[in-house]
């Protein structure tokens, strides 16, 4: 009895081992432990490199950073709202019930997208309200061009969300880390807070393939040079349409694969 009153080396050792084992078997935790800080290092490293350049010194710095932050959050939330909704049904063990209704795959995707718009409208309104209250940030500086930027980021977020959902359908909740991390994985290449010119060549190649990089480059051009690059806007839109089609095809492929592997019935 006396021994129970004191910390036990055996119990601490066992529980420590248990916590380490749980972390090692949990991919999302492993990702957060290892990869997330590396991604953060890239983002803030490149941002610092960009900001110390003389040409980056601008009175528009606050607008640029806040604008980028708000718009990038739209991409993240658009992605997460789609895959989180699906995960919620998987957590509840309700997805199987939905699957045996007359629902079609396309109807699931369209409903996920529409519901994400409603939720994103709320997120966007709150962000704008607080940015305006605390930092006098005015989104209207982007004028009419906010709309195509906004639409492009949403579409890309949806594509990512659809891809993440495909992974969850096929591999179940062991792939939940994709939901939390997919958008962050591409953030260093999306040039959210810095210009593409700051990136090393290998990173530049990836960023050329991402519509988000053209949007943020375009946004900086509007604020710093009052000049809109329509070419970048068209390019990002074309890439977005291509990726959205690919994401939908990927979802259908994963859905069918999950049906074959039996995972669709399990989630």
């Amino acid at each position: 009895m006396k021994a129970l009153n004191y910390p036990s080396y055996q119990r601490i050792k066992t529980l420590t081992k248990y916590y380490i084992l749980t972390s090692m078997h949990n991919k999302s935790r492993l990702f957060i432990i290892i990869l997330w800080p590396i991604i953060d290092l890239f983002i803030w490293g490149f941002t610092t490199l960009y900001l110390i350049r003389p040409e980056s010194q601008s009175s528009f710095f606050l607008s640029l950073t806040l604008g980028s932050f708000i718009l990038w959050n739209l991409t993240i939330k658009a992605q997460q709202e789609i895959s989180c909704q699906l995960m919620e049904d998987v957590f509840s063990q309700n997805f199987n019930n939905l699957l045996i209704t007359p629902l079609k795959k396309g109807e699931i995707l369209i409903s996920l997208i529409i519901s994400s718009i409603v939720k994103l409208f709320l997120v966007f309104s709150f962000l704008l309200f607080f940015a305006s209250l605390f930092y006098s940030f005015n989104i209207l500086k982007f004028s009419f061009w906010l709309l195509p930027f906004f639409a492009n980021l949403l579409i890309f977020g949806w594509s990512l969300g659809i891809v993440a959902s495909g992974f969850i359908l096929r591999f179940g909740l062991k792939m939940d880390f994709i939901t939390w991390t997919l958008a962050f994985m591409i953030q260093p290449f999306s040039c959210v807070f810095y210009s593409r010119s700051i990136l090393p060549y290998s990173f530049k190649i990836v960023s050329w393939l991402l519509p988000t990089s053209y949007i943020f480059e375009g946004m900086r051009k509007i604020i710093l040079e009052q000049n809109l690059s329509l070419f970048h806007l068209y390019l990002s839109f074309s890439l977005n349409i291509l990726y959205l089609i690919c994401a939908c095809l990927f979802f259908v492929f994963m859905f069918n694969w999950a049906k074959k592997s039996g995972n669709l019935a399990k989630i």
Partner: protein
Amino acid sequence: MKKPIIEIQNLTKRFKNKTVFNNINLKVYSGEIFGLLGPNGSGKTTLIQALLGTIKPSKGTIKIFDKNLEKSLSWIHSKINSASAYSNLQKQLTIMENLLTFAGLYGIENPKQKINQLIKFFDLKNYVNQKTKVINLSSGENTRLLLCKALINDPKILFLDEPTASLDPNIARKVQNLILKVHKQRSLTIFYTSHNLAEIKRLCTRIAFLKKGKIIKIGPTTALKKLAKLY
């Protein structure tokens, strides 16, 4: 000759190197409660999921209402429904919100009226009035709610996958009584899986015994003697 409402021909399902069931042939007729009996891991849930179209068989065909399941999936889904011990409704929503969602997906007219009839039948009215969320329901209440969901579209065939598996014997018996009552009232066809011999004997008109992915006995409940020895 009576036409089967469900017809399974040479159905096989393999996952990588494991054969879950092999060359299954089965006919279920309108109005019967067909029991699929078998020990845990015998392939009952995989077979019922194949019948629901959420698992693609490796070989063979499934016909429901004389239509190929794969080709007419949406149409067949509008005429069938299911409840399983391994599923739940959305836990964050209330009973009414969940049932209204499913009523919408099946395109039910006057959904509230329909839902009120069902929750009265399954004795869930108090929970609906209190706006109870699904997460706060007990296993027995949850099973009754799943049965409400399963009857919302007035299905012609009801697939029940071990619906009483997580219930204590008293509650399980109450649920069985409700199933028998529903069957009598609506002259439904029910495809029922269970590992519980007594339950299957009590409910079903015909039984197939599934073991290691093969049907080793099939026939009317009364004709199948010494089923317990097959386990």
